[in-house]
Assembly symmetry: C2
Homo-oligomer: 170 residues x 2
């Protein structure tokens, strides 16, 4: 008897380096849930992380991690300490290779983000996403990872498109 | 019969100019509801507005208005189109002269902000503030101006200190 489940590949994570930029841009472009403006801002944050300003680097405003399978970049996330808060972090962007669904990339990234934030006194991770039908899979993923939907504002992104705030507390 | 109500002084508004920086810094420092980090970020946004980059100026990311009485700066606000949205604007900072409470400074600024956003297809104004007791007066002001409390996330600023999202829709 054989089950139609692919062998589990090992997903590893590390801090992004400048040479990862093209792979990250590709992830943003092909993820299917970022428009051009969003993908552009996603890449801007990565560039700030890679810069040499006071807000750059892993202790700066936008720590960025990549996930790899067999040395190939299959996902990335940009997070940051939420300004004006104590212990709150934001997950600003997360994307994974659409050809590798169910490989555990998003989950591995989230667990690593939690660890990263915890090491810096982080106690909760907040993210904003759309309440539209199109993002149902995304929201299900956050729920499964440990996030709870805690707030909504109607017509936020546009009429009929609410923002949903998810929080993962530990 | 005389009522103990001061004569209503005329509050006017205009876009901020670089020479207003010290007056705005003073408002942030004396408002009583911004800590050092918050006041610093408030001033950073004003500096971006006054800069000459692609995100500067009234059509940039942080349009900034000042309120005056008799040519003296008595209030200011920094707003901006909310990224990734259609028609949503944010009120990032607003402060008024603590020695001129009830002069209508905050209300006049909010009405002008609404007009400014409306002229740029804005349909709603969102702001984030603290749910702590200390900010009860601030929240009452937003309610009186037309905002509605639409969402909350517990322990956001710190344990016991929730963020409250107010929205003014028109």
């Amino acid at each position: 008897m054989s089950l139609d489940v692919p062998a589990r590949l090992t997903v590893t994570t590390r801090l992004a380096v400048a040479a990862d930029r093209a792979a990250i841009a590709h992830l943003l472009e092909t993820a299917g849930n970022f428009n051009e403006e969003e993908a552009g801002v996603g890449l801007e944050l990565v560039d700030i992380f890679h810069g040499d300003g006071p807000t750059s680097g892993p202790e700066g405003d936008y720590p960025t991690l990549v996930a790899e399978i067999d040395g190939q970049i299959v996902g990335y996330a940009t997070i940051g300490k939420t300004p004006f808060t104590h212990g709150t972090w934001h997950l600003y962007f997360i994307a994974s290779d659409v050809t590798r669904r169910r490989a555990g990339i998003g989950r591995t990234l989230c667990l690593e983000i939690k660890k990263f934030a915890q090491q810096r006194d982080g106690q909760r991770l907040v993210l904003e996403t759309s309440g539209r039908e199109l993002y149902g899979g995304t929201r299900a993923f956050y729920h499964a990872t440990g996030f709870t939907e805690e707030a909504r504002i109607a017509d936020y992104y546009s009429p009929g498109d609410p923002v949903v705030y998810f929080v993962w507390r530990w």
